[in-house]
Structure formats: structure tokens, C-alpha cells
């Protein structure tokens, strides 16, 4: 664990205070916080944060809502539950790269079936991957399609662990379905919901594979996420000092966000419990 985690962390920290370039191979020079200042003053960095946050929060919110609904549906033994369970699990196990590659063809402006179908229904042509907002929506849609099953799986496991006596008592008292959900099911699943949302948010912050394949960060840098920005700086421009500083800024952002989120979630959980 030290070899693959702590030692590289410290080495990267020291590099972040230097200018280190592979090409051209210039001798590194200690520059203090200059790398951090350069990143903080870069509009591209703040744009990447904004894009990452937008895609992540939008997709996680919809994943949670849809996943919870699907879990509630699967919890009641409807016919074909076994088939639905396998079908709903499938997107989670597909390679995000493969999904993005196929999505790129589906949403192709001229060869894709989506624009064909929209034209057939009388709608206007939509440049899904060549304009900013449609591209962000497509990225969020793919993320929702692929990771809603993960939320469904965990919420279903939580639903199956709830005590049934409480629900039987509620039915005896003629409490409506919505009140049973909002008053009993949702509060009891709140700790699990907090954990699931937290996991998905952290996973969403590091999104790169879908963006890399689908848009490459384009058009321009409109859909460039933080991880892709760091990859471009480190492996296209070989600016390792700046990339290390960017990585640590990203880590600080994620730690701060995670701490604030968990503190807020604990208060909400205590209030509903």
C-alpha cells in the first residue's frame, strides 16, 4: 500500500512545486506555488470544474431517482422479475469505452439513427456531439443509462433488508402508498441512500473514458472534464509539474466536497431517523 499509494503521493507533491517537462527535457526548477497559481488563474481549469460538476450532479440526481423507482418496482414480485433483474444489471457490466463508441455512432449527426428518427417524426436536426449543451446532455444520458443499475442493485438490497412488520402495520392503519414510502421506506433507506449517492458522486468526478471516446473534450473544450484536462496537460504537453499540481488541486476539491457532503448528510439522516 505504501509503494503504490503513499510514496507516489509524496513524490507527486514534490514535483508539483517544480517545473518538470519530459519534452523538451529541461532541468526541473523549484517554482513554489507558481504551478498552482497558473492553474487557479486558468479559465480552462474552472471550465473543466464546471463541466465535471454539471455532468456529475445532473446524472447522479437522475440515477438516484430512476434507480430507486426501479428498485421499488423490482421489490414487488412482478412477473418476469428474474429477467428484468438480469436486463437491468447488464449496462453496469459493459465497458464504458464500448458504450461510448456505440453511442458515438448512435448520435452521429448524419449516420446515426437518432437524428434519422427525429427527422422522420418532423423534428429538426440536432447536432448532438458538435454543440456544447447537446453534448453535455448526451454524456449525462450515457452515464445515467450505464450506472442506474448500480443504484438499483444497492437500493434493492436495502429494500429487501427492511422489516416487513412496519409495512404490515401501516397497511392495517390504511396509510396510503405515498405516505408509506415518504414516512417509512425513504427514512429507513436514508443512510444507504447517502452512501450510494456519495459513491456515485466520487465515481462521477473521475469520468474520463466516456468523454474521451465520445467527444474528446469537444467541441473545443466544452465537455472537457477535470481528469481529461489533466491527461491533456500531462500526456500531450508533457508538463508534469503542472499536472501534479492540478491533480492535488483536484484531490483537495474532492476531499472538501466529500467532507461537506458527509457532514450535511449526517445531519439530514439524524433528522429523519
Amino acid at each position: 500500500m505504501l509503494v503504490v499509494s503513499l510514496f507516489p503521493l509524496i513524490y507527486a507533491l514534490t514535483v508539483s512545486f517544480q517545473t518538470v517537462r519530459i519534452v523538451p527535457p529541461t532541468p526541473p526548477r523549484f517554482v513554489g506555488l507558481a504551478n498552482y497559481a497558473e492553474i487557479a488563474g486558468s479559465a480552462r481549469f474552472w471550465g473543466a470544474i464546471w463541466t465535471t460538476a454539471l455532468i456529475t450532479f445532473l446524472s447522479v440526481a437522475l440515477q438516484y431517482a430512476l434507480g430507486f423507482m426501479l428498485a421499488l418496482a423490482l421489490h414487488h414480485n412482478v412477473p418476469g422479475t428474474a429477467l428484468y433483474r438480469v436486463t437491468f444489471l447488464l449496462p453496469m457490466f459493459l465497458a464504458p469505452v464500448g458504450v461510448a463508441l456505440i453511442a458515438r455512432m448512435i448520435f452521429h449527426p448524419y449516420l446515426g439513427p437518432v437524428n434519422d428518427a427525429m427527422a422522420g417524426l418532423g423534428f429538426a436536426y440536432v447536432p448532438f456531439l458538435t454543440e456544447k449543451w447537446p453534448a453535455i446532455m448526451v454524456l449525462a444520458l450515457i452515464d445515467i443509462w450505464q450506472w442506474t443499475p448500480f443504484v438499483t442493485l444497492l437500493m434493492l438490497a436495502g429494500l429487501q433488508g427492511l422489516p416487513q412488520e412496519v409495512f404490515e402495520a401501516a397497511r392495517v392503519d390504511n396509510i396510503s402508498a405515498w405516505r408509506r414510502f415518504w414516512g417509512i421506506t425513504f427514512p429507513m433507506l436514508l443512510p444507504l441512500s447517502v452512501a450510494v449517492i456519495f459513491i456515485r458522486l466520487i465515481e462521477g468526478f473521475k469520468i474520463i473514458d466516456t468523454v474521451f471516446v465520445l467527444t474528446g473534450g469537444g467541441p473545443g473544450t466544452a465537455t472537457e472534464t477535470l481528469t481529461l484536462f489533466a491527461y491533456n496537460e500531462g500526456f500531450k504537453k508533457f508538463n508534469l509539474g503542472l499536472t501534479s499540481a492540478l491533480s492535488f488541486l483536484f484531490l483537495i476539491v474532492v476531499i472538501v466536497f466529500g467532507t461537506v457532503y458527509l457532514a450535511a448528510a449526517q445531519r439530514v439522516t439524524r433528522r429523519f431517523a
Partner: protein
């Protein structure tokens, strides 16, 4: 390793790259300086060990997940893990062979194994996280049996534990199989994972490559379908023993070699797997993908391997990745890079520090003139 790049519109250059660059002194001395204990960086590393041991005993985050899992998983989920792994171990060597610490040399050579090690550790962390969640859900301490100890209830709870372990393993396997970020940052020009290969289809040219890309994507996704089907069945019926029995079925014990190449001596495996052959050499060919450029290497791969009892691996990259992959390998003193056949004019200034003049004897003859006359 042979490398093939695209031709530029204005002509092409033949290059004869050095395996060891004369201008490598500056980065060599810096890299070795960082690992000497006379520098602050070195002392940071020495201090890191007791600090990490102390930190490991502290309570960090709340009761939902275990501290060890969260500490590793939380920090490891960002791309800085891959970046710092690469930063720490891969470029830490000198191209000219001087001041090259032996541990760092071995680390460089086995950098791809570091990637696998990280994937394995991440798999372990994910598994521990899932197991902790399972324990919280089932309210069982680790390795405990049921309270009354009766055979039937123990079988039932053991069965559920096994189911959870199997499900956890399969989920972790699927996630690690589809890992892209770390493969993107830690792979070099010698090997790549399937998601990286798929991503390389992006800049393929020609309409036929759409169909090939889709086919490759579906092939890669088919294992995900298999995993989800098996997981769904196992979660319903709990049968793992069937899959274990498949592995131990009596099989073919004949010693077979595939193409007349020497067979591995002393192979006494009792499984249906054929006796492996020995490969005398391995040639990795990095090339730009696309029908016109990669087809030659791909088409001749098997024939050359069969004739020479060697193995030829063709690794395709999109045009946009060629420069970074080859240049990274050169700057790290990759010994297996022997020659470039083409070098795009756009990328030539970046390669200049690693090159020397081609010998005059090679600048004449049919091999020199076979593709395009040089522009004088």
C-alpha cells in the same frame, strides 16, 4: 519495437533514433537526485513510513464504511493515483545508464506489473468495501457462525455469505476488467488493454471501420452480458459448485504443440490446457491504426511468428496518441525501441533530442527508394 507513423503531405523523414541519448544528462541527474536522501524529497519519503503507520491507526470517517476501505478507496478514485504511480516509477531512470538505481531499473521494466498490482489492490479494496457493506446489512461479525450453531442454520448463513462473496467477486472483476483511466496513463507502446484498443478506434478512417469498431465493442461487451447473466442466476439459485466442477472436468492430457515450435519441457499439468510452447522472441510493433497503415503489420503478424517461432504483437494507436506513446517510451530510455520507419514532419522536433544521423550505407539501395523518393 518498430513504429510506423503517417506520412505528411510535404514528404517524410527517415530517422535513426538513438537507444541512449547524449543529451540525457539533465533529466538523469534530476531523477536520481530526487531519490537521494540528501534532498528534501528523499527525507519526505523516509518520514512517510512512520507517518503512514500512525495515520493507519486513526479513525477517519464515519460508521457507514470501514476506515481502511475509505482511506484507500477515496483517495484512489481520482486520476492522481495513476498519475503519481507513473510519475514516481516510470520516469525515474536515466537514459544514459549512469546513476541508475537497481530498484528503479526493475520498477521501470516491470511498470506494467505495477499497473496490474494496482488493479489487484483496487479489487481488494472494492471487495473489502462490499464485504463491509454486506456485514453491516447482515449484522454478522467477521468469520462468525450462527448463534445456535445448528447445522441447518449454519448452512443457510454460510450459503448467503458465499453468495455475497461470489457476487462481490464478479462485480469487482467486471469493474477491473473495464478499467480505462489507469490503463490509459500507465500503458506504454508495448502493450495495451482492451478498452484502450477500443478507444483507439476513434480515429480510424474509412466507413468499414465503423462496422469493425462496433463489432469490437460488442465483443468486449459480451463478457459483461455473461457476467450479468451469471450474477443474476447465482443471486437467484446460489450455485457456484457447477462452475467449479467445469474447471476440474477430465480433459485432454495429450502434449500438443501448436506450430512445430519447441514445447515447454517438464509440463505436468493435469488440466485440459494444451502444453505451452516456447516463444524464442517477442516483437512489439506499434503502428497507427487505419486500414492503409496497420494492415501490413497485422497481415504479416502470424506468418512471421510461425516461421521464426517468435511472437509478433501489433499494437494500434490513433494518430493523436502516437506522438505521446512513442515519445514517452523514448524519454524513459525504453531499450526495446529500435527504429522508426516513418516520422511525421510535425513531430520531428520533439524526437530530435533522441536521434542521431542515419548511417550513410543505409541511405541508398532498393530499401531506401521503395516507398517514396527523398526530397533533396
Amino acid at each position: 519495437m518498430l513504429s510506423c507513423g503517417s506520412t505528411s503531405a510535404s514528404g517524410f523523414f527517415r530517422a535513426w533514433p538513438l537507444q541512449r541519448s547524449r543529451s540525457a544528462g539533465s533529466s538523469c541527474s534530476t531523477s536520481s537526485r530526487i531519490f537521494e536522501f540528501r534532498t528534501p524529497s528523499g527525507w519526505f519519503l523516509v518520514v512517510a513510513l512512520p507517518v503512514s503507520i500512525w495515520l493507519n491507526g486513526r479513525a477517519l470517517l464515519g460508521p457507514v464504511m470501514g476506515n481502511d476501505d475509505v482511506t484507500f478507496w477515496f483517495v484512489s478514485q481520482t486520476h492522481i493515483s495513476a498519475h503519481r504511480l507513473r510519475l514516481c516509477y516510470l520516469p525515474a531512470l536515466c537514459r544514459d545508464g549512469k546513476d541508475r538505481p537497481a530498484p528503479a531499473r526493475h520498477i521501470r521494466r516491470h511498470g506494467h506489473r505495477l499497473h496490474r498490482l494496482w488493479l489487484a489492490l483496487r479489487g481488494v479494496a472494492d471487495a473489502r468495501l462490499s464485504l463491509n457493506r454486506f456485514r453491516l446489512r447482515w449484522k454478522r461479525p467477521r468469520w462468525s457462525t450462527t448463534s445456535d450453531g445448528s447445522a441447518s442454520s449454519c448452512r443457510s448463513s454460510c450459503r448467503w455469505r458465499h453468495l455475497a462473496l461470489i457476487a462481490t467477486s464478479m462485480i469487482v472483476l467486471a469493474f477491473v476488467w473495464n478499467e480505462f483511466l489507469f490503463a490509459l496513463l500507465l500503458t506504454t507502446g508495448d502493450w495495451q488493454t482492451l478498452p484502450i484498443l477500443l478507444a483507439g478506434q476513434n480515429s480510424s478512417r474509412g466507413d468499414e471501420w465503423w462496422a469493425i469498431s462496433v463489432a469490437r465493442a460488442h465483443l468486449h461487451c459480451s463478457d459483461g452480458g455473461g457476467v450479468s447473466t451469471i450474477l443474476g442466476r447465482m443471486m437467484r439459485s446460489g450455485l457456484l459448485s457447477g462452475s467449479i466442477n467445469d474447471l476440474h472436468k477430465g480433459g485432454n492430457h495429450e502434449e500438443t504443440t501448436t506450430d512445430g515450435c519447441p514445447a515447454a519441457p517438464g509440463w505436468h499439468g493435469g488440466s485440459p490446457i494444451a502444453r505451452p510452447t516456447i516463444r524464442v522472441w517477442t516483437l512489439n510493433v506499434s503502428t497507427q491504426n487505419g486500414p492503409a497503415i496497420a494492415l501490413g503489420s497485422v497481415g504479416r503478424r502470424r506468418g512471421l511468428g510461425k516461421k521464426t517461432c517468435g511472437e509478433v504483437n501489433v499494437i494500434e494507436f490513433p494518430f493523436g496518441e502516437l506522438l505521446s506513446k512513442i515519445l514517452t517510451a523514448m524519454s524513459q530510455g525504453h531499450r526495446r525501441l529500435r527504429r522508426d520507419r516513418f516520422c511525421s514532419g510535425l513531430g520531428l522536433p520533439d524526437f530530435a533530442p533522441f536521434m542521431s544521423s542515419m548511417p550513410a550505407a543505409l541511405q541508398e539501395g532498393s530499401n531506401w527508394e521503395d516507398i517514396h523518393p527523398t526530397l533533396s
